[in-house]
C-alpha cells in the first residue's frame, strides 16, 4: 500500500463513530451544488455586512447629471457608475449591494419568526391532543388552502404596506409547514420508550417538550428552514414588486424591480440586474437546502 491510498482512505483508523458534525460535513462536502450554494451565500453575506465599505456610492443619493446611465461596457457608460444608474440617477451597483442586506434580513427574520411560532404551536398540538390539536391543525389547513401570495397580500392590506408587515405576512403564510412538521415529529417521538422513561423519571411537560423531545425533531426543521429562507426572499420580493413590501427609496430588490417596470423599453439594466440578484440568492439557498436534506436525512445515506 502506498502512502497516498492511506491518506485518502475515507474510514478513520479508530473504531469510534465520527462526531455527528464531522459526519455531516463529510456528506455535505461531497455535494458540489450545496458547497457552491454555501459559497454564494457567504459572498452575499459579506456584501451585506460590508455594504457601506464596498459600495462606491450611497444607495439613496441621486446624481442630477446621470439619469439612466448605461453600464460601463455600453456606449455612454462610465467607471463612475459601473452598472449604470436608475431613473433618478442613483448608482445601480451600490443599490444592489445594499439590497443584499434587505434580502438576507428578510429571509432570516421570516424563518426565525415562523420557526419559533411553528415549533411552539406544533409542540402544543402534539402534546395537548384533543380539541386544542384539532383547532390548531384546522387553522393551519385554512392558511394552507389560501394561495400563499393572496393571503400575504390580504395581511399586508390589513397591516398596511411596509417591510415589517410584509415579513410578518410571509411568516404567517409559511407557518403551517413548521407546525405540521413539528407535530408529526412530536407524535413519532412520543411513542418512543425514552419519552416514557423521562416521564417516569419525573420530567415536567415543559422539560419533556423542549429538552427531551424537541432536539430529536430538529433535522426536518433545519432542512425546511433553509429551504424556507429562499421562499421568504422570493415572496417578500414579490410583495415589494406589487408595492406592498419595502417602500421606496429602500434598495430592496423586488421594490427596485417595481420602480424599473416602466423603463423596460429604454433601460434593460434597471430591469435585469435586481432580478439576477434575487435569482442567484434564492438558487443558492435552495442548493444549500437540498444539500442539508441529503446530509441530514438518514434514509438517503448509503
Amino acid at each position: 500500500m502506498t502512502e497516498a491510498t492511506l491518506e485518502t482512505g475515507p474510514v478513520p483508523a479508530s473504531g469510534a463513530p465520527p462526531h455527528p458534525i464531522v459526519e455531516f460535513w463529510r456528506y455535505f462536502r461531497g455535494n458540489p451544488g450545496a458547497v457552491g450554494g454555501l459559497v454564494v451565500i457567504l459572498a452575499v453575506l459579506l456584501l451585506a455586512v460590508f455594504a457601506d465599505v464596498v459600495a462606491p456610492h450611497s444607495p439613496v443619493v441621486t446624481d442630477q447629471n446621470a439619469f439612466l446611465k448605461p453600464p460601463v461596457w455600453q456606449e455612454g457608460g462610465s467607471w463612475t457608475y459601473p452598472l449604470g444608474t436608475d431613473a433618478i440617477g442613483r448608482d445601480m451597483l451600490s443599490r444592489l449591494i445594499h439590497g443584499a442586506r434587505y434580502s438576507l434580513v428578510i429571509g432570516l427574520a421570516v424563518v426565525a419568526i415562523s420557526v419559533l411560532l411553528g415549533v411552539v404551536l406544533g409542540l402544543i398540538a402534539g402534546f395537548a391532543g384533543g380539541i386544542v390539536e384539532i383547532a390548531i391543525m384546522r387553522l393551519m389547513d385554512i392558511v394552507l388552502t389560501m394561495p400563499s401570495l393572496l393571503l400575504a397580500i390580504v395581511i399586508v392590506a390589513i397591516l398596511g404596506p411596509g417591510l415589517m408587515n410584509a415579513m410578518l405576512a410571509v411568516a404567517i403564510v409559511v407557518l403551517p409547514h413548521y407546525v405540521r412538521l413539528t407535530r408529526a415529529a412530536v407524535l413519532t417521538e412520543l411513542a418512543r420508550p425514552y419519552v416514557t422513561a423521562a416521564r417516569v423519571a419525573g420530567a415536567g411537560t415543559l422539560r419533556l417538550m423542549f429538552r427531551t423531545v424537541l432536539p430529536n425533531c430538529m433535522a426536518p426543521l433545519i432542512v425546511q428552514a433553509s429551504l424556507g429562507i429562499s421562499t421568504a426572499i422570493l415572496d417578500a420580493a414579490a410583495l415589494g414588486f406589487l408595492g406592498l413590501g419595502a417602500q421606496p427609496p429602500a434598495p430592496e430588490w423586488g421594490t427596485m424591480l417595481a420602480d424599473a417596470r416602466e423603463f423596460v423599453l429604454r433601460a434593460w439594466w434597471v430591469v435585469t440586474l435586481p432580478g439576477i440578484m434575487i435569482l442567484v440568492t434564492v438558487l443558492a439557498f435552495n442548493l444549500l437546502g437540498d444539500g442539508l436534506r441529503d446530509a441530514l436525512d438518514p434514509k438517503l445515506k448509503r
Binding site: 393572496l150 398596511g160 414579490a238 430591469v271 432580478g275 435569482l279 435552495n286
Partner: protein
C-alpha cells in the same frame, strides 16, 4: 368507496367555514372606513355617509354582519362591488375563464416539456442531459416570475417585436363570449386573424406562469421514474425482451405518473399565486389582477367574495385530487 368519499368531503366543511370566517374577519380589520376611502380627499357629508353605511350593512354589529354574510353566501349572493356596483359573483364569472385559460395553457406547457424531460433524465441518469435538466429545473424553481415576465417582454416584445406586451387580444376584434376561452371563441367567431392574435397574447404569460410547475413536474417525474425503474417487474419486462421504449413508456411511466398527477393537483394554489403576478405584469384581465386592484381600491365586497371563491375553488380541486388518488390507489383508500 362511498365512505371514503364522504369522509374526505366532511373534512372540507370546517375548512370552508374557516375560510368564510377568514374572508369576513380579515376584511373588517383593514384600517379605514370604505365609504370614506371611496370618497377620497373630497370628503363626504355625514348624511350621505350614514346612508351609504346603511346601504352596505356596515352600520350593524360585527356578529350580525357575519350572520347576514353567511346567509347570503349560502344563497350565492356575494354582494356588490363598491366601485362598479356589479354583483361580485358576476364579475368573478366574467373574469375567471381568463384565469382558467391562462392556467390551463401554463399547465399544458409545463406537462409537454416537463414529462419528457423528466423521463429522459431518469433513463439517462447522471448523463449531461440529466444534470442539465436538474440544474435548469432548480433555476426555474428559484425563479422570481415577476422578473422572468419582464425579461421575456424585454426579449420577445421589445427586442424581437414578436409578441404583444399586454392584454388578451387586439382591440380590433370584438369576440362574442361563448365559452369565455378566447382561443375557442376567436375560432368560433370566424374573424380572420383573431385566433392568431389571441394566441400571440397568450404565449408569454403561459410560459411565465408555467415555469415553476414545469420545474416541479420535471423533478417529480424524474424521481418517480427512477424509483419505478428499479422495480422487479421492470426487470421482468426487460427480460421478456420488450423494447426499451415499451418498457419505459408503457410499464414504467404509467406507475410513475401517480405521484406526478398528485403534485399537479396540489399545485393549484401555487398556480394561483403565480397568476396574481403574471396577470399584473401582462395586464391579463383575470381574477388575480382583479383582486390586487380591489385591495388598492379597498373594495371590501370584491376582496371578501374573491377570497372566498378562490379558496373554494382551490379546496374543491384539492378534494377532487384527493378522491381520485384514492380511486387510483386502493392502499390510500383503506388507511382510514
Amino acid at each position: 368507496m362511498l365512505r371514503f368519499v364522504l369522509t374526505r368531503v366532511s373534512l372540507v366543511v370546517p375548512t370552508f367555514i374557516g375560510v368564510t370566517l377568514l374572508a369576513f374577519v380579515l376584511i373588517r380589520l383593514v384600517p379605514g372606513d370604505p365609504i370614506e376611502t371611496m370618497a377620497g380627499e373630497r370628503g363626504i357629508d355625514p348624511e350621505r355617509h350614514a346612508r351609504l353605511l346603511r346601504e352596505y350593512g356596515l352600520d350593524q354589529p360585527v356578529l350580525v354582519q357575519y350572520g347576514i354574510y353567511i346567509g347570503r353566501v349560502l344563497r350565492g349572493d356575494l354582494g356588490k362591488s363598491i366601485v362598479t356596483s356589479a354583483p361580485v359573483i358576476e364579475e368573478f364569472a366574467t373574469l375567471f375563464p381568463a384565469t382558467i385559460e391562462l392556467a390551463l395553457c401554463a399547465v399544458i406547457f409545463a406537462l409537454l416539456l416537463g414529462l419528457p424531460a423528466g423521463v429522459v433524465a431518469a433513463v439517462r441518469r447522471n448523463s449531461i442531459f440529466d444534470h442539465g435538466v436538474m440544474t435548469v429545473s432548480l433555476a426555474g424553481y428559484s425563479m422570481p416570475i415577476f422578473w422572468w415576465g419582464l425579461l421575456l417582454i424585454l426579449l420577445f416584445s421589445v427586442k424581437l417585436g414578436l409578441t404583444p406586451v399586454s392584454g388578451r387580444i387586439d382591440l380590433l376584434y370584438y369576440i362574442e363570449p361563448v365559452t369565455g376561452f378566447l382561443l375557442v371563441d376567436s375560432l368560433l367567431s370566424d374573424q380572420e386573424g383573431a385566433f392568431f392574435s389571441a394566441l400571440s397574447h397568450l404565449v408569454l404569460p403561459a410560459i411565465v406562469l408555467g415555469t415553476v410547475p414545469l420545474a416541479v413536474i420535471a423533478r417529480m417525474t424524474r424521481s418517480a421514474m427512477l424509483e419505478v425503474l428499479g422495480e422487479d417487474y421492470i426487470r421482468t419486462a426487460r427480460a421478456k425482451g420488450l423494447s426499451p421504449l415499451r418498457v419505459v413508456g408503457l410499464h414504467a411511466l404509467r406507475n410513475a405518473l401517480i405521484p406526478v398527477v398528485t403534485v399537479i393537483g396540489l399545485q393549484v394554489g401555487v398556480l394561483f399565486t403565480g397568476a396574481i403576478l403574471t396577470e399584473t405584469i401582462f395586464s391579463w384581465p383575470g381574477v388575480g389582477k382583479w383582486l390586487v386592484e380591489s385591495i388598492n381600491r379597498r373594495d371590501y365586497p370584491v376582496l371578501q367574495g374573491g377570497i372566498l371563491l378562490i379558496g373554494t375553488v382551490v379546496m374543491a380541486v384539492n378534494l377532487v385530487v384527493d378522491v381520485l388518488y384514492g380511486v387510483i390507489n386502493p392502499r390510500i383508500r383503506h388507511t382510514r
